[in-house]
Symmetry: C2
Subunit: 191 residues, 2 copies
């Protein structure tokens, strides 16, 4: 029998998400989170560098998935084909988690600093994708713009999918958005 119950980290995540949902992010203290998880505040900071990180430590698992999809050797592909494959695969992986993602997004949207942290994480993903595209054989000056556009499309689709109660699913939204890049520069204003 171990001296302490195992899985402190998981219990801290649960406690934090629960309390953030109940009382808001700013209104819950580390002491409260630690108490609900049955540990001390010091243990919280051993698992998470700061209060925000408890909201962002989980979803790192999707990143390798995305990179693998991009690097998968499938012969010559156009950027559009590859982007379609990668974004579809990511969307499929996220789709079952809709409710959890929604709860998390509700919390993130209440604090500018959390939004910033999310965007900083996205920027790191985007950088990793750019490097993968270069390794896959795309010229560097295109890889950069490609991953920027891909992320812009994906994030926009994700947010509307989480916000809308109904409407198309995430995969459909992503696949619909992609071809529009091709013509968007030619749209003309009405005044």
């Amino acid at each position: 029998m171990p001296r302490w119950p195992t899985d402190s980290r998981a219990r801290l995540v649960d406690a934090a998400l629960g309390l953030f949902g109940e009382h808001g992010y700013a209104a819950t203290t580390i002491d409260e989170i630690a108490a609900r998880a049955g540990v001390t505040a010091r243990t919280f900071f051993r698992h998470f560098g700061d209060k925000e990180e408890v909201l962002f430590s989980d979803d790192d698992s999707l990143m390798p998935h995305l990179i693998t999809t991009i690097l998968e050797p499938t012969g010559q592909v156009s950027a559009e084909q590859l982007m379609n494959r990668a974004l579809t695969s990511l969307a499929q992986a996220m789709q079952p988690e809709r409710e959890a993602l929604r709860a998390r997004q509700r919390i993130v949207d209440t604090e500018v600093s959390l939004t910033g942290r999310e965007l900083a994480k996205q920027a790191r993903w985007q950088q990793a994708v750019t490097e993968a595209l270069i390794e896959r054989g795309f010229p560097a000056e295109h890889a950069d713009v490609l991953s920027a556009i891909g992320f812009a499309l994906f994030v926009r689709s994700l947010h509307t999918w989480l916000a809308d109660d109904d409407g198309p699913d995430l995969v459909t939204r992503v696949q619909d958005a992609l071809p529009r890049v091709r013509t968007v520069l030619d749209v003309v204003s009405t005044r």
Copy 2:
């Protein structure tokens, strides 16, 4: 004669930028900033909501400039033409500030939280631009993608311009990047 010297806010900004540059962002305390500015820490927090804000309170002046350019009634224009005008105008406004921007960027790049804050501010700008595009007569579903692409291009150009010691100026970089969006989806990987 006023009871205190005027311009506390400006002196706080100067003190903060100086100390951040000399000792780093994390290593300088609010007390040190306040002392150099000749005020107390409480006064710092009256002018800036938190330690980070002293780095971000200034450049809000460029936003109205950008929005005005977009809303300027110039008859029917394509998205590409308008984006070219808006980004060029913004680049021209920023170009003379290169050294100040560089110093600030050096500081921002040392801390993830500062990067996040910068990205969050960019996201607010992007939202404002999207709304301006809609008011200008672009359909909502395109305005969103347009501003996302525009910002991606501009930020990339800005960062390389600040990082490179020589090479083309910001306006040139921005104008070179824009037409590439049109073809980027057709680029083919070499393996």
